[in-house]
């Protein structure tokens, strides 16, 4: 089966700083890929390039064989994709952010139906029906009409996951989803993510939660200074890392 995401020779620079220096990566249908690495290694940038929130200038990102952010011009060169098509591609990938980014002027329910109603043009009643089930699934049914500022961080993040799921995404991108949470709230978010993985959702997760990675990931990829230094099943990466950078990084985060 074709990979869900295929990344070829991806480069990204911020001015002088080259954050990604040639990433090649494929994510299979139903795979849970966990991205680890020191801060500043480029792992969040890599994730944000996958739905073109970050505009890469070299290399290619394919989502189900569609280029993300670009299209082939007549000459074969890459030209900027038109916004409508890019939005269609983005709508098929859910994203969950470190700082939740719920819409503060909308209740939990309104946040979750926003994408389906505005982007997918679903009927409001139908969207509310589906949203209610998703909100129940993430354990927030009693917070349906509550505004985000009245929720804990863990509740906000679970609502944000429901909002992303409401778009019926073919893949989910998680950008350090538990890094902004108080330690006692991390578990409830990871539980929701585990249940998604168990349902066969394709997931790319940038995280520092090594226990979660070991338990849930199909593969773990270690990134350092914009390059993939090691990739493999969690048992191998965590138990017998081979690259000195990985060994050094794991020593520091696991102690």
């Amino acid at each position: 089966m074709n990979p869900v995401l295929r990344i070829r020779n991806l480069h990204k620079r911020f001015g002088e700083l080259e954050v990604l220096r040639g990433i090649d990566l494929e994510i299979a249908q139903g795979e849970v890929l966990v991205v680890i690495g020191p801060s500043g290694s480029g792992k969040s940038t890599l994730l944000r390039c996958m739905n073109f929130l970050e505009e890469y200038e070299q290399g290619e990102v394919y989502f189900f064989d569609q280029l993300v952010g670009y299209r082939r011009g007549a000459s074969g060169r890459l030209v900027r994709d038109n916004p409508r098509h890019l939005n269609k591609v983005r709508a098929q990938m859910g994203m969950v952010f470190q700082s939740f980014n719920l819409f503060p002027h909308m209740s939990v329910l309104e946040n979750v139906i926003e994408g389906p109603v505005i982007v997918l043009k679903e009927k409001k009643e139908a969207a509310i029906g589906r949203a209610t089930k998703l909100i129940e699934r993430v354990g927030l049914i009693d917070k349906l009409n509550v505004y985000p500022s009245k929720l804990s961080g863990g509740q906000q993040q679970r609502a944000a996951i429901a909002r992303a799921l409401a778009m019926r995404p073919k893949a989910m991108l998680f950008d350090e989803p538990t890094s902004a949470l108080d330690p006692e709230l991390v578990g409830e978010v990871l539980e929701v993510m585990k249940s998604l993985a168990a349902d066969g959702m394709t997931m790319v997760i940038v995280t520092h939660e090594m226990g979660f990675a070991r338990e849930v990931a199909d593969r773990v990829v270690m990134i350092d200074e914009g390059r993939i230094v090691e990739i493999g099943p969690p048992a191998r990466i965590f138990n017998t890392p081979t690259h000195p950078r990985t060994i050094d990084f794991l020593r520091r985060v696991l102690h």
Partner: protein
Amino acid sequence: MQAPSYVWHFGVIWDYRAVFVRGATVTAQLTFWSLVIGLALGLLLGTLRSSTRWFLRAPAALYIEFFRSTPVLVQLVWIYYSLPILTGLQMGNVASVSVGLGLHAAAYFAEIFRAGIASIDRGQTDAAKSLGMSYFQMMRRIVMPQAVRRMIPPFINELATLIKLTTLGSVLAVYELLHEANNLINNTYRPLEIYTALAVAFAIIIYPFIWLSQRLEQYWKVRS
């Protein structure tokens, strides 16, 4: 010791109430048209100034800083007296004041728009884009509803200033509240009563907007 005696005759206000109503009508007209011009042009300027392209940003910035750093009175006089000489375009005094105040207010509204939109967190637009929203959907559903809430207090401030600035119309012989009041003083020799009434008239016009702004802030505080 006795304070200098002055016998107030507020009856004169009631006698000439029609003059105040007439003046207030013109004040309202000036405010309305300068507001329309100011908002439309301000929205355009604010958008241009937020642009990433320097050749759009620079002229907007120049306009804004020019109008913010020169006196309105000079701008009005210039539009009424100098513009016809330079361009042959002669507007009536009411139109001149409306346009002049509109051009002036636009500079301030532009800054309110720009700052309001710029104050919205990057995470909000990231989230909107990740849902596949178009630029206009994002602005309409996510950015503007939040930005407008932050724009209301400075906007009401600027509106109150604009209403008071319409009194400069008296310099171009526009019969707004101040000009009517001055004429009335010439006829009745009752400046203290009439200026007091003038102050009250402006307060009656302006206060409802301030009240509304405060109510809106309260309303939104509950819903966020």
